[in-house]
Amino acid sequence: MPLRLTKILLLCLALAGLFCMARVNFNLGSGLLLSAAALALYILPWKLDPLTERKLKRFRDIKRGYYSFIFLVALAILSLFAELFANGRALVVKYDGDYFFPTYSSTQLGHTFGLTGRDANSPVNYRNLREHFREQDNGNWVIMPIIPYSPNENITYDGILRPQPPSWEHQHYLGTDSTSRDILSRLIYGFRIAIYFSLAFMLMVYLIGIAVGCLMGYFGGWFDLLVQRMIEIWSLVPFIYIVIIIFSVVPTGFSVGTRIGILLLIMVLFSWTGMTYYMRTATYKEKARDYTAAAQVIGASTARIIFHHILPNAVSTLVTFMPFTLAAAVTSITALDFLGFGLPPPTPSIGEILKQGTARLDGAPWIVTSAFFALVFILTLVTFVGEAVREAFDPRKFTLYR
């Protein structure tokens, strides 16, 4: 029964990934990654061994962690459709008997909806269009999302760009930032970028970390020593300075997407080392066991022994680290943004709002509170999941010999 729920979730995830891919201006890579991973998990025959099933059951029994997990996944999936909730573009426009769905279509110019003069050749401002249609009152209408603002729009309602306090009337539920951009809208998009950035970061770090760690543990000897020393040197390089240095030479001509990709790569490049040591130890341990020797005696290939025998046994310890890696990634991207070395402006991000907020502690406290609570909320959820996973996978309760 719960398995079915998981499968449904996975299917949703796969569809969401595909959906992202279909849209060019969202990060193509992460969409692809997501849908491939989810589809693979969905299609593969899920014959869980009893032990894993028991662990999962235990995880589900830890209610706080389990519901946090469901909630987090739901938020992540919903955020993929953020354009439907927080957007300056309308959901539906009815104009002269035709229906338009501008959310995901390409930019519409004013003349499409019969606007004239200065607005004819500009991209449509749907909020104004809504008012315009209301005034005209001839059967045309516009439905706007709940938060009718895109994250980068500067909207004034008193003619001056400055922080505005939260207001239901103006649909700025968390107020606006120092140049009158909607904070909630920026938080939603900032969350989306942060969470998928962190997921991609985690996947890549684990991929490299597990591969290298496994090889070190399995081959041992000189190879192990050499890689250990390399890792020691490598991990001494101060990560934050490298990010700052590299980012100062990355041509700004690159698109925002590319720059985010580069940032991801740099972060991965300096973060994979931590995982290798756990993996190396686990592999050493497993390699010394009888079943590995048996496999060797039978004549199994190195690849088969690593992937089929050792990895499944060694990897269970790593699973418990995953949520914490995710939390660390969210924190570091926020920190980098806060320092001004993260995502290029005007990309919405929690760190950037936090920076604005700390600069405006007097006079505009809603900026910093919004960002602070959003960050705490996300990190708390992730930590709950992490604690539950750790408890559920605690090896002191289960051991596995194959």
């Binding site: 060019v24 201006n25 279509s105 390409s106 930019t107 110019l109 200065r118 004819a120 050749n121 500009s122 991209p123 980068n152 729009e153 500067n154 004034t156 003619g159 001056i160 760009l161 400055r162 922080p163 120092s178 140049t179 020593l225 050499l226 250990q228 020393r229 040197i233 100062s248 700004t252 001509g253 698109s255 925002v256 001004g340 290029p344 402006p345 005007p346 700390t358 600069a359 405006r360 007097d362 006079g363």
Partner: protein
């Protein structure tokens, strides 16, 4: 076994890294032997001549052969001339400017420490050479040292001999317009901060110094070789400066010269940049930087000389009142503001930004209402800094005029001024606003207009909007440009420009760097569009050569027929940020630089502005006809606050600290007692 191998292994690594490190050499632990500059000075004094630029042109164009040229040069007088006091013409009209009104307040109290903040620690203490032109230099040179005579900051009209001057290092001077010479009698009392007297030799050496390639400052090399034909030494305290062109501001150019201390730079040589990087050079002004006050990256302080030679002289006696001026580096603007609010900093210019003026330190703020902090808005009358977008025409697409004009119409400075600056500022009209009669009377910046922008972009082949609304041409190139700036505090403003430009189908990618690296990138001409401004100072007429002449854009801008040279290389480290190379404009700039006639120069200036407007390399931003600042009550200013041509409240050092008021404010704050709020607006110099 397992223990042994790794230790051996890491030993190898250790050895290898030691070897690697030792390979890096011992750079930095001192410079070599000091260069002996003496013979070079003598050689230079004996041989250097000012060669009129047009002679070089004649040689280059083949009108003169090398022999003819050499012969002509042979007959030129030497740049450095030695005469005796008897040779001084006797019919000179000497003036000393002592009848001009004094400025500053006789109530000023000497003493105390003023606390200020820097956003960036100065890169060097040198006045010239790489990295020297930073925001701290005014504290070392421009605002605190003395020229022969200085332009009077309140009497700004143009008289028959140019501006009015009050005496500095000069005791008196005589301006001979016919021979383009300014005769000067130096004040024999004038002393360097190390006690040495200021003499004619320091002025001779000044020219040698600025001609020298060692200082790595081509602008100065050029300026001091081209604008002056020579200097004559009559005796220890009498000199004459010969100016190359009879420009209307001839006297100001000569009288504004600031000598260079000869005895200090006797180690001038190829290692000048490193050798003098952190050495405070002797000053004629009241403030020195002591070795122990330089805490690199953290703080720096100016200390007043107890026995400054000019401390009792008219025009100088009521200024430079603090004993010590301490600058701490505070990189974050918010922290800087918080420091000011706490009273750690005495003054803040941050309120110049509307956000601070209206929202963060509003008039009904407790500190302001109670009179502890006073807000000041002072209308000045000076050439305006050129805030705007400088389009680098050496970049692809931006070399297309239609794209540039489209960008003009796609840049919504009107919205920035109205909504971000709250309508306080005005749209800049040309590259030279605020020069009075020299500013173009009718030209205005192109307004934001999506339709016109689209029309021009369409002419350049950008007709279709992509799915994100940004224009795309036939070959799929997006209409997207990087806007580079070193002004972090204007990030929000650029974000607005970016969002507005997107309406017209242009994508501005923002490249927001810290001040130093932003300016470096722009100086290296690595920008597509730069958002920056040139600081201006009260000159008689605007400059065009630096920012728009072809020789500052490319090494070899044109082919002989005047068409662009396909092999030309971009000139870096010049102020031609727009890579403007237009033969017609160059000709006008050359004429303008040679002209001595105010009327002709004005016409040329207008014609050049029109051409620049037509070509569109510069999108004018805004001008601010005033400056604003806030200060704690214990900082006092003269009753009319400041002088007409001041660009900031601190420039003329007219303020002082009143310890009694400081005690009073502190007591009032403890008791929660309100004091009388101060005057806010000083508009005696407000224009129309």
């Amino acid at each position: 076994m397992i223990m042994r191998i790794p230790s051996k292994f890491s030993l190898t690594i250790l050895l290898a890294s030691v070897l690697l490190l030792s390979g890096c050499g011992d750079r930095g632990d001192g410079l070599g032997e000091a260069h002996d500059i003496g013979p070079e000075i003598e050689e230079h004094y004996a041989t250097f001549k000012h060669i009129p630029p047009e002679w070089n042109e004649r040689l280059a164009s083949g009108e003169w052969s090398q022999e003819e040229f050499d012969e002509q040069v042979e007959h030129l007088p030497n740049f450095f001339r030695f005469a005796s006091i008897e040779d001084l013409p006797s019919d000179l009209e000497w003036e000393d400017g002592m009848d001009l009104p004094e400025f500053g307040s006789p109530d000023a109290i000497k003493g105390g420490t003023s606390y200020g903040a820097l956003q960036d620690f100065p890169r060097t203490l040198r006045h010239v050479g790489p990295d020297s032109n930073g925001s701290f230099r005014p504290m070392l040179l421009d605002d605190v040292t003395l020229g022969i005579a200085e332009r009077h900051p309140n009497e700004t009209d143009i008289g028959p001999k140019g501006f009015h001057h009050y005496p500095g290092l000069g005791k008196e001077w005589a301006i001979d317009l016919d021979s383009q010479t300014v005769y000067v009698r130096l004040n024999p009392e004038a002393r360097w901060s190390d006690g040495e007297p200021v003499t004619a030799d320091d002025f001779m050496f000044m020219f040698f110094f600025f001609h020298s390639p060692y200082i790595q400052a081509p602008w100065y090399n050029n300026q001091y070789a081209e604008n002056f034909t020579g200097i004559t030494r009559f005796d220890e305290h009498t000199i004459a400066i010969h100016v190359a062109r009879a420009k209307p501001d001839l006297a100001t150019r000569a009288l504004g010269l600031r000598p260079i201390s000869k005895h200090f730079f006797d180690e001038l040589g190829p290692d000048f940049v490193q050798r003098y990087q952190w050495r405070f050079q002797p000053t004629t002004g009241p403030y020195v930087v002591r070795e122990e006050d330089i805490r690199r990256g953290r703080s720096i302080a100016l200390t007043r000389l107890e026995d400054w030679w000019a401390k009792d002289l008219k025009f100088w006696r009521y200024r430079f009142n603090y004993d010590r001026i301490q600058f701490n580096v505070i990189r974050d603007t918010s922290n800087m503001y918080e420091s000011f609010r706490r009273g750690d900093l005495d003054k803040s210019g941050l309120v110049n930004l509307p956000e601070y003026w209206y929202d963060r330190l509003p008039d009904d703020h407790d500190l302001v209402r109670n009179g502890y902090i006073q807000k000041v808005q002072f209308y000045n009358e000076i050439p305006r800094p050129t805030y705007g977008l400088w389009i680098n025409q050496a970049q692809p697409l931006l070399n297309n005029r239609d794209i540039r004009i489209g960008l003009h119409y796609a840049t919504n400075f009107e919205r920035v001024i109205a909504e971000y600056f709250r309508g306080d500022y005005e749209r800049m009209r040309t590259t030279s606003d605020g020069y009075g009669d020299f500013s173009h009377p009718t030209l205005t910046a192109r307004p934001f207009d999506v339709d016109k922008a689209l029309e021009y972009f369409a002419k350049a082949g950008f007709e279709r909007r992509g799915s994100d609304g940004i224009l795309v041409n036939e070959s799929g190139r997006r209409l997207s440009f990087t806007v580079t700036t070193g002004y972090r505090h204007f990030e929000d403003l650029l974000v607005i420009l970016r969002e507005e430009a997107a309406r017209a189908g242009v994508d501005f990618r923002l490249d927001i760097l810290d001040g130093t690296s932003g300016w470096k990138k722009i100086q290296e001409k690595n920008h597509e569009i730069a958002f920056t401004a040139f600081g201006t100072f009260p000159e008689m007429y605007p400059r065009y050569w630096e920012t728009f002449h072809g020789v500052n854009a490319y090494d070899d801008p044109y082919l002989p027929d005047g068409s662009p040279n396909p092999d030309r290389e971009v000139m870096v480290q010049t102020n031609n940020l727009v890579s403007m190379a237009n033969p017609e404009l160059d000709r006008m700039i050359d004429r303008y630089r040679r002209s001595d006639d105010v009327e002709e120069m004005r016409e040329l200036a207008f014609a050049m502005e029109e051409l620049i407007h037509e070509e569109g390399p510069f999108i004018p931003g805004w001008v601010q006809p005033f400056y604003r600042m806030a200060h704690w009550r214990w900082i006092r200013y003269p009753h009319d606050f400041n002088v007409k041509i001041s660009s900031g409240a601190g420039q003329y050092f007219l303020d002082w600290l009143d310890p009694d008021i400081k005690a009073e404010v502190e007591q009032a704050r403890r008791e929660g007692r309100a004091l009388e709020p101060g005057r806010v607006i000083y508009d005696q110099f407000r224009g129309d």
